[in-house]
Symmetry: C2
Subunit: 301 residues, 2 copies
C-alpha cells in the first residue's frame, strides 16, 4: 500500500493505472475511519482493480472552528485500517495542495444545497463540492463511493458529477448502524455516556415516522409534528432541523402532500448534544421504509 502526501504524486499513480485500463475505486474521507467508511472501501475493493482512499480534514467544509478542531483524528489507526482492507493508495491531503493562500475557485450546487444541512451550515456544501472536484481530478476514479448517512451530500455529489460531465460513477451505499440503531459517525466518540444512551432514539423516531408514512399518512406537517413531539422526549438534545421532503429534489412536496413513488420521501434530522452535532435520515418509498437506497447500478445492499 502506497501512502502519499502530494496530490501530484497521487495523480501519477492514477494515470499509470488508467493507461493500463485498470479500474480505480475511490473513497474520500475526512479521517476518523469507522465501519461506515470501511463498508465503502470493501465495496470498492469488490468492484474495482485498484482502491484509493483520501484522508483530508478539509477545513473549507467546516463552518465552525470548534467542530473542525474537535474532529477525531488518529492517522496511524486510519492508515492501519486501510492496509487491513487491502487499499492500494492512501492520499493524505495537504492544505497547501488543496486550499493554498488566496484560494478563490469554488464549485457549488444550488438548489439541492439550500435546505437541511445547507441551511444551517453556510459554505459547507461549497467546500464539499470543491474538494470532491479536486480529488476527482487527482485520483481520476472510475467509481467513487459515498454513504447515505449524508444523504444530501450524496445527492449533491451525484448531481455535480452528472452536470459537470465527470467520467465518474457515484456509488451510494447504505448507512451503517450500531446494533442499537445509532448511525455510525466519527462524532459519536465525543458523546458522553448519557448522551450515547439517549442517541438511538433518533433512529427509532425516524423509523416510526417512516412507518406512519408507509401506512398512509400523506401530510408532511403531521409527520413533522409527530417527530417533534417524539424527539422532545430525548434528554439533553437540541434540535437543528427535522424535515420531511422530496428525496428527489430535497424540496417540499407540492402542497406538503407526501408521495412515496419514485425516489419517495426523505425524513431527515440534525440534532445537537451540547457541542456534538449528529445527523440521520430514512427514505420512504413505495417499497417500504428503508434507511438505505438501492438505486439500480449505483449501489448495493
Amino acid at each position: 500500500m502506497k501512502v502519499l502526501r502530494r496530490s501530484s504524486k497521487a495523480a501519477i499513480w492514477s494515470e499509470a493505472y488508467r493507461r493500463s485500463a485498470l479500474s480505480i475505486g475511490f473513497v474520500p474521507t475526512l479521517g476518523g475511519l469507522h465501519e461506515g467508511h470501511l463498508s465503502l472501501v470493501r465495496q470498492a475493493r469488490l468492484e474495482c482493480d485498484r482502491v484509493a482512499v483520501s484522508i483530508y480534514l478539509n477545513p473549507s467544509q467546516f463552518n465552525s472552528d470548534e467542530d473542525l478542531e474537535s474532529y477525531p483524528c488518529d492517522l496511524d489507526a486510519d492508515i492501519e485500517s486501510c492496509r487491513a482492507e487491502g487499499v492500494d493508495l492512501v492520499l493524505l491531503g495537504q492544505q497547501e495542495d488543496f486550499f493554498p493562500e488566496n484560494f478563490q475557485s469554488w464549485v457549488l450546487v444550488e438548489d439541492l444545497a439550500r435546505e437541511l444541512c445547507g441551511a444551517g451550515r453556510p459554505g459547507h456544501f461549497r467546500g464539499v463540492c470543491t474538494v470532491v472536484t479536486q480529488l476527482f481530478h487527482v485520483i481520476r476514479p472510475h467509481r467513487a463511493y459515498f454513504g447515505l448517512k449524508d444523504f444530501q451530500q450524496a445527492k449533491i455529489v451525484k448531481k455535480l458529477t452528472e452536470e459537470l460531465l465527470f467520467d465518474v460513477e457515484i456509488c451510494l451505499m447504505p448507512t451503517i448502524r450500531s446494533q442499537d440503531g445509532l448511525a455510525l459517525s466519527s462524532r459519536n466518540d465525543r458523546l458522553t455516556e448519557t448522551q450515547r444512551a439517549a442517541a438511538p432514539a433518533l433512529h427509532e423516531a425516524l423509523v416510526e415516522a417512516g412507518n406512519l408514512i408507509s401506512s398512509g399518512e400523506t401530510s408532511a406537517k403531521a409527520v413533522k409534528e409527530f417527530l417533534l413531539s417524539r424527539l422532545a422526549g430525548v434528554a439533553g438534545c437540541e434540535l437543528e432541523y427535522v424535515e420531511v421532503l422530496s428525496a428527489a429534489t430535497l424540496g417540499e412536496f407540492p402542497g406538503q402532500v407526501l408521495n412515496t413513488s419514485g425516489e419517495g420521501v426523505l425524513v431527515a434530522l440534525a440534532i445537537i448534544f451540547e457541542e456534538v452535532r449528529l445527523i440521520d435520515n430514512i427514505q420512504v418509498q413505495d417499497a417500504g421504509v428503508s434507511d438505505q437506497v438501492e438505486s439500480g447500478s449505483e449501489g448495493g445492499s
Copy 2:
C-alpha cells in the same frame, strides 16, 4: 476529421488517445472562427499529437439575449476552417449535454472575476468557468489554448485550472490584430463602416497609454485620465470601462502607484458601438509595452 455532437462520444475519442499516451491539444470556442482562433489551433497543431476544437455558443456566459442572438454563427464555414488547419476532432456542443433543464452546478473564481468584464457582465465568468470545466472533463486535454484578447478570461481559466488541480496546461497566446490594429473579434463583423473606421483608435489609445507608463508615468489616475480624454474623441462609441490595474491580481495597485515589474500593468477597456461590445488590452512590463504575454513555457510570440 471527426465531427461529433454528443459529449459522451467525444469523451470516448479522448480516452482512446490518452491510453495510447498521445497528447491532446484543445481550443474551446463559441464559433464564429477567425484568425485569432486559428492562431490557437495552429499552435496546438505544432505542440500536440491530436487537436480538438469545440464550437458551442454557451448561453450561460451571455448576460444579454440580444448579444447571444446576434453572435455570428456559420457552422459550415467553421468546420471547413478546422478541416483546413488539420484539426482531428470538432465537438459541436449541445445544450442538453451542457446545460439541461434544472441545471444547478457551477464553477466560479472570486477575486479575479470582480473587476473589468466581471463588473458589467454578472454571471459571465461563472458561465465561462463552468463550461471550461465541463469541456475539460469531456476532452481531457493535455494543453488548452486561450487568447490574450480576453486577458481576464485567460487569467481566470489559468487560476481555476491550478486551484482545482486539473491536469491541463493552459497556453496563453497573443492577440491577433487587423493591420490597422483592431483586435480580431467575431463581433467586428457587426460594426457599420463608420464604426469599423473608428475602431482602430482603441488600440492606438492603449499603445499610447502603454508608452506613457513605459516612459515613467506611475499614476494610475493620470493614465486613466489620458485614456478617457483620448477615447472621448472616438465618434459613436460609449465607454463601459477603462482600467489600469495589476496584471497579476486584476485589482488596483496599492495607492494606485503603477509598477511594471513582474506581470506588470494591465491597461484594459470595453467600449460599445451601439449594440456591439468590443474589448481590448495591453500589458506593460519592465521589458516594454506589449499586447501579448510571453510567459515562459505558456505561450509563444
